[in-house]
Every structure is written in structure tokens, then in C-alpha cells.
Amino acid sequence: MKRLALFLVLFSTSAFAETAFVLTAWVGDGLTIETAYSPAVTADYGPCTYSDVTGQPGPNLSPDPNLFVVRLDCDLAIIDQIDVDAAYFVVRRETRVGVPSEEEFERLRVYLGANADAAIGPNLNGRTRTVIEDDLREWLKVRPKMP
């Protein structure tokens, strides 16, 4: 019975959570903790645990493009909703790793618009989603500082 109880506790708390790395704009003006710069995706969806993984220092948040990468830990259903929301781009998720299809890579290029070539290059070149995410973060770190 004790084993069954532990089994149920483990599954009820975490069984349907998932981790995703998501491109999102930041919102806010940074003037107070109530209006701090923060990811738009966590204002639209939740509850999620998140951490910024891009690492631009606060004064270096780029307005062009207004983007950074966050790690989200949410219920699977929430990640599924974000995955089909055109405002965001799920670069990789726990259940979707490895090399993306050319079609998925092209959708990411469309999402990045005029920045696509500089951010991730014109071709997939066999890169995994993790490598593409690294490339995105490195590029975002050196964008122009906020005015």
C-alpha cells in the first residue's frame, strides 16, 4: 500500500509536466517590480516555472528584435498551446529533440523575419534544435543595447 501511495504521489505531481525552450518578446518598462521587463509568454500562459536562458544583462535587452529565449516548465497541455501560438516559437521541447525538418527550420526563419540570416543562417546544415537554440542565444546576446 505504501508503495502504491508513493507511486500515486510521484505521478500526480509531475507526470504531465514538460520543459520547453521558447522564443518570446519581453514586455514591461522595467521601472518597478510590478512593471519589470518579463517574458510575454508567461503573461499569456501559465502557471509555468520559467528562467531566462539568454543571459543578456538588463541594460542590454534588445529592442530589435525584441526577443529572448526562456526555459519553461509547464503542464504538457500549456506547452501544446504555446506550440501553436504564432506569437511564440518553441525551439525545442522535451518530447521534440534532434534535427528539425526543413519545414520547421523554415518556420523559424519566417518567425525571425529579417533577422533570420544573421541569427540562424540560411540553411539548416544538419544542426540539432539544441545547437540552433545555442546559436540564437549567442546572437541575441550581442544585439544593440536598449536606447
Binding site: F16, Y37, G58
Partner: protein, 227 residues
Amino acid sequence: MTRFLKYAVLAAALLWSPAQAQEEVQVAAVIVAGSGGSIGAGGAHAGITTLLQDNFTDTNGTGLDAHTMDTGPGWTEHQGTWTTESNQASYSAGSADMASAAAGATQGTITADVTTDASGGAPGIAWRVTDNDNGWIFIVNDAADEIRIFEVNAGFTQRASAAFTVAGNTTFALRCVISGDTFTCDVDNDTASINHTSSVFNTIERHGLFANDATETYDNFLMTDAT
């Protein structure tokens, strides 16, 4: 492997493994579900050095910058009004203000008990503080019912958050482990936790308290060198 699969393997082992292996799996399960090692506000363990400590025992109305810490060189009130009241630190005027003390170290484990005011508010602990406009903070946030890490650096940038119910007039045990460029913060013995990695301000050795609303209070402040 997904978390789901990890737990599935663990659960399968629990249900089917022989007795000895089962005991080992149960220990592993406790580690998975448990709080991790903690240093309470009562003092440091053997081999761990206390860098800063304050239980705020003093006459009511004593300014924090005039108060003698239990361990540490003394507080600097960067902004706002900080005093001792009922043997706690009390913040009574201003918003988004910090007080800090020089620890002589950039990293360690910081713990404090923070109490929200009647309307909730956002009390917290601070690390790597140079002045009121530069440093890192970990707070409980009543308005959002979340715990949050902010970089205070030419404004406030929220770097991590997690859902956590925050009520007014309630005390919360905050803890942040600052290890190199990685910050791992939790509330009430790992009831909720968040983490973030950044090299910003990583040479700064001042750490302390953050307040956002009047009448937030603080007690049992401790920083050790444990990472």
C-alpha cells in the same frame, strides 16, 4: 529522458524490485521529492562558516545602519527607512529598497524569514548589491502569487518565476544558494524553487534584504559560505 519516463522507471522499480533494491529506490525517491540540504537560521554546520548573521535584537526604532549585527560589519540602508521593531527588521517607508552588509565573499547560502504586510507586498533577500539600483533580488510576490528573481540593473528585469501562493501577514522562509554564476532560490523548504544563471555583478560581496512595501518585516538573516 522525460521526467514522465524517469518517474515511470522509478515507480516500476518500486513496484517490482526485490526488497533490498526496493529500499535503495525508496531512498532515491526521497531525494527526488525532498528539499535538498539546508542550513537553518539557527547557525552553521561544522566546516561551514557564518559570513553574516542578524536576529535583529535591539531597541525598537533603532536604525538598521546603527544596529550591531550578530555577525558582520553592519548594515547599509541604501534607500528607505529600516529599523528594528519587536526584535525584527522593519521597513516602513519607500518602495523597492535594499539594505546590505559586506560579507567578504561573493557566494554562499542566504536565508531569512520575511513577513508580508496586510496587503501582501513583495519582501525578499538581495545579493551582489552595489547600491539601490544594482543587485539581484529574490522575492515572494503577493500580487502575482509567485516567487521571482529579478536583476536590478538600470531597471528591473524579471529573470525567473514560479507559482506560489502568497498571503498577507504571513512569514515565509526564503533561501538562495549563490554558487558561482548560478542562483538557486526556494521558499518554505523547497515548496517552490527557481534558478537562474548570470555573471552580472559576480564580483560584488554585499548581500542583504529587499523591501517593496511599508511594514514588511525580516528576521533570522543568515549567510554562510555553503554552496
